[in-house]
Symmetry: C2
Subunit: 429 residues, 2 copies
């Protein structure tokens, strides 16, 4: 691996040169005259295509008045930035809507674009009627209203959430970053420490699992090891400041940072403290992996370190050679991202990317690398290394170990192919 | 000031006691029988009001299918959590919509509830047609398309944004936290370093100010000291992951971390590098403060350290004595929050609140203090101390210095009065 890139130096070598050159070409003929008000600025140039309208139409009349949106929505010009919903999914078994990662910046996913995945549709729950029951191997079984839950001390954390089949191992995988890993989002969650709630009830000897049940039509049920429940598990009622969206479990969900998404039971109605797991549908028939030797890999829990370049990525196009920032996201269920390497030469060499601060545990981490594209075909890819030292593997490495029957927990490196024309496509498809 | 509260000890003394007591009362008669499936759980109690429906209605039929919302919206049960828009505002002069801070958790404001403030309505700008012109005391005047701006290296930061009249000094101030300081929000912003863009153009000797102009019907114009432009100013195109909302400057805005909000020019179309400020309407007639001696305080820029308790806060009600978490937000335009003190005895004594990590510079910081309310009338309040050591003042202290003609830059401590019945009201009204 090469030395870390000095971003300032690299900019001097690529970005600044490119922009100065382009700047010169764009505005070489401009003469700017007049005062400070927009209507007074006059300009003359040989290339009028790139001039701002002297006074654009939207400055000539007042815009939309206050109150036209009591709850705001995106610009109509962004109407194509919506959830990515695969066609022909069995609606009440494996419905999923993916976050359009290739259109997003930073690490926070806006609530309107947060990925969704459900097994029995989205229930419309009245929070006044909702109850959470906590029972089993506890001294005092308890039933909570939402007001009771809100009375507990609160905490807020930024965590990612990811479906374990993101993507599955089955070809053709998909064309865009969203097709590949769009069952992934990140938000600031607010709620209550599950540990505190369990302590209220009093755990009894032999309490090894907590079986969580959702109040949807599928009553999705998962068994959580007691260690996770006492570490960082939360009962969550808010997401990015406001109350949970219905698709994310309104009014109450479990949140298990770093664990596969389906374990963070939505519409949470019941916690049963037990000595054994429940062996529910979602941990036997589903979300387990068939190994080459015929055994089943079960209770895998952690989402391992992973990353993807979102810009440039599949479906996008580089319009000209020159400076392009490579930007993407990395995450690990094991903790913080330690480093992200980027290759622009089909894996022959790797450079260390810059990580956007703050790097938070079990949250998305944005990485960036300045790059000068010479206009030749290229393959670009990223690999995440987490704080444990684990290195994101290639797809070939994973397939060699896991075989062809595997479906979940695909955390392979995902390369993008860039053609001489600048088209970006999935290099593994 | 008393010693910092040990949150564990305090919980032992208040929260746990309260919850155990309440838990006992709530669920004392419950017998839980049956297996793991929701339909098998049977319960008997003297107080059936608090029991969960054995199988609630929303589990009996499939919920909403995938795709009913390509861009999600909140639960219908949250329909009252919307922007707080004062009545009878002159629409095209001082329109404002406030964030409902008392209903939010954490530090991120969801984009749909981000505060808005505009002077000529919200323009509907086609990003393909939008241009940014950079001219004046530069070597190369430049005109940028949005694609040009997106080609620059990017950065993301979580920063608050606050209007300088939040609230004004004029009574009656308001009833809720939103009425008082709802012209305040916080988001993760992504864009380009303004310093980098200025360097592309090449600053000339004598460049002391950058005059920024918006593409709205009011052509809102402000003068920014060059030092700020070269420190942390950004040209922003995304907010909480997605592109800016129209109300926040789509497709491009200036962002000046920690400076009064109106300087972060929205719908940014022009940057004029100059030797002198423009003395525009928004920095002479408006956003200046008339001092008791008749002089005008101008170019104040920084929003000083400030905080407010959002829960419990005006308009809310404590339904019973016992444990209540006090939670609020603190912020400073000067940098990080160093400490937040909370008083529950009308300012006689203060306790140090717990700060939610990570504490970020020029971002909201969530603070919390466990509290046992004894059911007696009380006055609660918070005061922020920032990393410079500056202490948020009382309203009386501010009025003594600034007099009665002052309007903007009110960063006073704001106390809430709690009645014996639990009603929370503005103690300064």
């Amino acid at each position: 691996m090469s030395e870390p890139t000095d971003i300032g130096e690299s900019l001097a070598a690529t970005s600044r040169r490119r922009f100065l050159r382009k700047g010169g070409a764009l505005v070489g003929g401009i003469v700017v005259a007049g005062g400070l008000a927009g209507s007074e600025a006059a300009a003359a140039t040989e290339n009028t295509d790139n001039l701002p309208p002297n006074v654009p139409e939207w400055m000539k009349t007042p815009g939309d008045p206050m109150g036209s949106q009591l709850y705001g929505t995106p610009s109509p010009f962004e109407k194509d930035v919506v959830k990515n919903i695969p066609k022909n999914l069995p609606q009440y078994l494996s419905a999923s809507g993916r976050t359009p990662l290739q259109d997003l910046d930073g690490i926070i996913t806006p609530n309107g674009l947060f990925y969704e995945r459900h097994h029995g549709g989205v229930p419309a729950i009245d929070p006044e009627q909702h109850r959470l029951m906590l029972h089993g191997l506890v001294d005092k079984p308890l039933i909570f209203t939402m007001e009771d839950i809100r009375r507990f001390p609160s905490q807020s954390h930024i965590y990612f959430l990811e479906c374990s089949g993101n993507p599955g191992y089955k070809k053709p995988y998909g064309k865009t970053a969203s097709d590949l890993v769009g069952l992934l989002s990140c938000a600031e969650w607010t709620g209550v420490s599950l540990k505190l709630v369990l302590q209220e009830a009093g755990l009894q000897a032999g309490a090894k699992w907590v079986i969580a049940e959702g109040a949807d039509a599928a009553a999705v049920t998962r068994s959580i090891p007691i260690e996770k429940c006492l570490e960082d598990a939360m009962l969550v009622y808010s997401q990015n400041g406001e109350r949970l969206r219905p698709q994310q479990g309104y009014p109450l969900r479990l949140l298990l940072p770093g664990f596969e998404g389906n374990m963070s039971i939505k519409w949470l109605r019941r916690l049963h403290v037990a000595a054994e797991p429940s062996y529910s549908r979602e941990e036997t028939s589903k979300y387990t992996d068939l190994m080459p030797d015929g055994s089943a890999r079960e209770f895998t829990f952690f989402m391992e370190a992973k990353s993807i370049i979102t810009r440039p990525s599949g479906g996008q196009r580089l319009t000209s050679p020159g400076f392009h920032e490579i930007s993407g996201i990395a995450w690990s269920g094991r903790g913080k991202i330690g480093r992200v390497d980027v290759s622009v030469d089909d894996g022959k060499s790797w450079q260390e990317a810059q990580l956007q601060e703050p790097v938070l545990t079990r949250a998305l981490t944005r990485f960036r690398l300045p790059w000068h594209w010479d206009g030749q075909p290229a393959v670009i890819q990223s690999r995440a290394i987490d704080q444990t030292g684990y290195v994101q593997p290639t797809l070939a490495e994973l397939l060699a170990v896991r075989g062809e029957n595997y479906f979940y927990h695909n955390n392979a490196i995902w390369p993008w192919r860039i053609s001489a024309g600048g088209e970006v496509t999935n290099a593994n498809a």
